[in-house]
């Protein structure tokens, strides 16, 4: 409460010219050092991009040109789109495999987000007995490697799951045989299951950090849990949902291991990754069409990335609470 009148005299300010005269070397060193992080980033961008560029160029060169010289010795005269013609030809079946990839990657992205968002909200904002323990158990599942579950899962998809009680000699069917072996469904089901721990963990971290007052205000305004989730949590979680969607789409679109295990030789259901690997043919005879195939395969995730990256908005919570 001290409000004694102090008059500010305008003369006491240091002139702008007084700096800069001392330590020109220091200033220059500072200017130099300051640019290093940006420089390193640019270097990384270039180093990371060169193979992609090489792939892109080689995808337009025929077999002999690829064999004869490196992509950096490309001559404009040798550029051709024959490789793309080859892979899109009916015989190769790239078009169908792209649809198969989409049939895997789209459900494998949307379904985990839908389930995990509900679960994350529940873990973050609905008090129930054993909440913490259950959450820790869910997140601990991150430690389980995908590979150990491949064969059991495949067995389940092939014949369902059942237990036989030892003494009674009675067999109980836990999961019936849905005849999923060799289908894209078996692949996205597997992806969905393995995405869950990380999705819940990531979304929970974000959703639990939303301001508590917002939820209380909504409760007083008459919102139940579902309304709060639908009208507050989902709109405010768009950045993290987009981030996870990109991550999960890339991972499932580019997956080879699970698809190969579950679908294997069933050519009509193969995603692009398996098709391209097979395109090389015996002894790598057709290796020259791989760059074109790889480029087509990489194009879709790029589209998804650029489509979703505009949702990485900062300051979505601006103006909500001040604290």
């Amino acid at each position: 409460m001290s409000a004694t009148t102090t008059t500010l005299s305008g003369t006491g300010q240091p002139g702008p010219s007084s700096a800069g005269q001392s330590g020109g070397i220091v200033d220059r060193a500072y200017q130099f050092l300051r640019r290093i992080p940006t420089g390193v980033l640019w270097l990384i961008v270039v180093v990371w991009s060169i193979p992609t560029l090489g792939l892109f160029i080689n995808s337009f060169r025929d077999r002999d040109a690829q064999r004869a010289t490196g992509w950096w010795k490309v001559k404009p005269s040798e550029l051709t789109i024959d490789n793309y013609d080859t892979i899109f030809s009916a015989r190769a079946g790239l078009g169908r495999s792209l649809l198969n990839s989409a049939a895997i990657a789209i459900p494998a992205t949307i379904i985990p987000i839908a389930i995990a968002a509900f679960a994350a909200y529940g873990f973050a904002w609905i008090p129930f007995r054993g909440r913490k323990g259950l959450f820790i158990a869910t997140v601990a599942l991150l430690a389980i490697p995908l590979q150990v579950a491949l064969i059991p899962l495949l067995q389940m998809f092939v014949g369902g799951a059942s237990v036989t009680l030892p003494l009674l000699d009675k067999t109980i069917v836990l999961i019936p045989d849905f005849d999923l072996a060799g289908t894209t469904t078996s692949v996205w089901l597997t992806h969905t299951g393995f995405a869950m721990p990380f999705a819940i963990f990531l979304l929970h971290n974000y959703i639990s950090s939303l301001p508590k007052d917002l939820f209380e205000a909504a409760r007083i305004d008459g919102a139940d849990h579902f309304t709060i989730f639908w009208r507050l949590v989902l709109p405010l979680s768009i950045p993290v949902l987009a981030a996870f969607a990109i991550f999960q789409f890339l991972w499932t679109w580019n997956d080879y291991l699970i698809a190969n295990t579950m679908i294997g030789a069933n050519a009509s259901q193969q995603p692009t990754t398996i098709l391209i690997a097979n395109l090389a043919g015996d002894f790598g005879r057709n290796e020259y069409i791989l760059p074109a195939g790889a480029f087509v395969q990489a194009f879709v995730p790029l589209v998804v990335f650029f489509a979703l990256q505009r949702y990485f908005v900062r300051g979505l919570l601006a103006g909500s609470v001040k604290g």
Binding site: E216, R219, D221, L316, G319, V321
Partner: protein, 390 residues
């Protein structure tokens, strides 16, 4: 429009912390009641229990005539304004204000007219299509108010709604909220730690400390007749000066001795505080409001016996008045306010603050005569710390 009644309300947290002890409060219809107290006194907890955001460990809570102990917040017919506004950042001001009505399935046309009416009252008409992020602090505060008033609830609950505003805006919004409440005539419970807000806004003020209700009364009565040392020091700024002193009476007059100073008590003083007769020869706590000190040069009518001499340690000139800090060689009394910043004086000396007339010419470091209006002095029992008044 409703009363809010708290009967023997207790709050015990799961970790065993007993936040509120047997709180009894009756808030009348259309009344503006302020809950005030230092940090951690349980005032926000009490408000959140009225809102239904905290469970009630014991006692009965009534809104209107209805017991609401187990009623969900949304069904209590209350609206709450939060300290940090808690606006929905992705919705426009219009949607923020209309959200509760929309959830209550009020027809669209009615929502529209009610939102516009609330916006008109709060002068938000031009900002209805903006989002909270594009508004200034004061405007956000108004949106938070709008969200409350649009529902026409039985009671408003406000949890330190002005604490995030800058000083000037706070003074302005203080007056606006108070007049808005009178206009709408809605029962209001307002929590603050700022005793100036409490004094200026409330019909009545409830002072809490450590989960215990200390006193509920009109602002003026709290100021004039505090029931104990804590309320005496908490209400009023600067705080009441509290010292230990010895009382001696002879007939209708008497003296108090604080340190080396002896102050005369006029007959008026014993008329006001008849119980003081029981304390003859005993040590008590005396309280002197800053305005009951005056530069003796400007108060020639105050008799010689009611003056003390001290050295001025600090002067704060506020234009309309001068705050004069000085030392008295008496034992100071801790009021028990955890937020109070006690100036440390040496052992056996107490800091005192007086509010002098601006015409006073005292200067820092000067030794001056200070007149004390002892007839306005407050007396408290040394052990119980309760008032001796009456």
């Amino acid at each position: 429009m409703a009363t809010v009644q708290l009967e023997g309300i207790n709050k015990v947290y799961e970790n065993g912390y007993h936040a509120i002890h047997d709180l009894n409060l009756e808030i009348e219809d259309q009344e503006f009641l302020v809950l005030v107290g230092p940090s951690g006194c349980g005032k926000s907890t009490a408000l959140r229990m009225i809102a239904g955001l905290e469970t009630i460990s014991g006692g009965t809570m009534r809104i209107g005539e209805r017991v609401v102990n187990e009623v969900e917040p949304k069904d209590r017919d209350i609206a709450m304004v939060f300290q940090n506004y808690a606006l929905y950042p992705h919705m426009t001001v219009y949607d923020n204000i209309g959200f509760a009505l929309k959830l209550a399935k009020v027809p669209k046309e009615e929502i529209d007219s009610r939102v516009r009416k609330a916006a008109a009252i709060l002068e938000l008409e031009d900002n209805l299509q903006r989002k909270p992020g594009q508004l200034s602090g004061g405007q956000r505060q108004r949106v938070a108010m709008g969200r409350a008033i649009v529902r026409q609830p039985a009671a408003f609950l406000m949890d330190e709604p002005l604490s995030n505003l800058d000083a000037k805006l706070r003074v302005q919004m203080r007056a606006e909220i108070a007049s808005l409440q009178r206009e709408l005539a809605v029962t209001t419970v307002y929590v603050t730690h700022d005793q100036i807000e409490a004094m200026t806004m409330g019909d009545r003020v409830a002072v809490l400390k450590d989960g215990y209700l200390q006193q509920v009364d009109t602002p003026q009565n709290l100021y004039d007749h505090p029931v104990n040392v804590f309320v005496a020091a908490f209400i009023g700024s600067p705080s009441m000066n509290l010292f230990e002193a010895d009382v001696r009476l002879s007939g209708d007059v008497g003296t108090v001795t604080l340190g080396s100073n002896v102050l005369g008590l006029p007959a008026e003083c014993l008329v006001k505080n008849p119980k003081l007769r029981d304390y003859d020869g005993r040590r008590v706590i005396i309280g002197i409001r800053p305005e009951d000190y005056e530069d003796a040069a400007l108060a020639p009518n105050v008799p010689e016996s009611q003056r003390i001499t001290s050295k001025v340690s600090l002067i704060e000139a506020l234009g309309s008045e001068i705050m004069v800090h000085f030392r008295i060689d008496a034992t100071t009394v801790d009021s028990g306010d955890p937020d109070a910043v006690e100036e440390k004086a040496g052992a056996g000396t107490a800091n005192a603050v007086g509010r002098f007339n601006p015409r006073s010419t005292v200067r820092m470091g000067q030794t001056v005569e200070i007149a004390v209006s002892t007839e306005n002095m407050h007396f408290f029992d040394l052990d119980s710390r309760q008032t001796i008044e009456g």
